[in-house]
Subunit: 150 residues, 2 copies
């Protein structure tokens, strides 16, 4: 994985505890890096090769976890004051690469389903969903090559 990730993105490795008849997969504790406050937790599902892009939150910090399936994330930084201004990050999450991805406000995020089965994304967000703090761009309005994610 490219470790030269965008400024302020945080990847935190999570534990999977094997037990008989099923596992325990850590998500987030209030004492963890990336936790600010609790606003809402919700799932997004994505089918293989579907792309959901682009969104930018003005206020929300997202904490993204993929408990099932595999999802590729494209993140674009157009924050003029950022050290990574103009750069992209590509991150793939699954149980095989089980990290929590913390995305601060003002980064553009999109994601693509990579597994044959439906993929599940949990967002533990510091504020509840508010359409007034979300910007949208169409897929082609940011020049990112989604074909690398497969």
């Amino acid at each position: 994985m490219d470790q030269q990730i965008i400024q302020d993105l945080v990847l935190t490795e999570l534990n999977i505890i094997k037990t008989d008849g099923g596992d325990v997969l850590h998500g987030m504790k209030k004492s963890d890096p990336g936790f600010i406050s609790f606003g809402e937790a919700y799932f997004s599902t994505v089918t293989k090769n579907s792309i959901k892009a682009w969104k930018r939150h003005h206020k929300m910090t997202m904490n993204l976890i993929v408990p099932s399936g595999e999802i590729g994330f494209g993140i674009f930084d157009d924050r003029e004051e950022s050290e990574s201004f103009g750069k992209f990050s590509t991150i793939v999450l699954s149980q095989s690469n089980y990290f929590r991805l913390t995305v601060p406000p003002m980064l553009w995020l999109g994601f693509k389903g990579l597994s044959k089965d439906l993929s599940y994304l949990l967002n533990i967000a510091d504020i509840a969903h508010d359409p007034n703090e979300v910007d949208h761009l169409d897929l082609n309005e940011i020049d990112y090559d989604w074909s690398y994610l497969k």
Copy 2:
């Protein structure tokens, strides 16, 4: 479903919003019934016909959501002051019966995987995991017929 559930158990119907390429599944907002505070969110997985039982928390309120698969819950109330003292509740959760189950402290809980594919349980808990506040009993120490759940 049996609506004569144990005192203080709360079932809250959740929305699934259909969108192209995948859905959005609501989980919990801080303004929702059952939310006390945020301590930890974690997943448990359970294979078909595996039973994980019994546990009782002294402090934790659990908010249980099944985004994938199907899980049957057995809950036993041995709180002497309870109106439902000595009673059991049986609740099945899945995307087809998409509810959040809020379980207050001091109830005995077990669960069984019912779907062919692995089932996923998200617990949004008001405190972080603490083994000192959890009691355990072996499966057979509470007389509950798990064969009804299939």
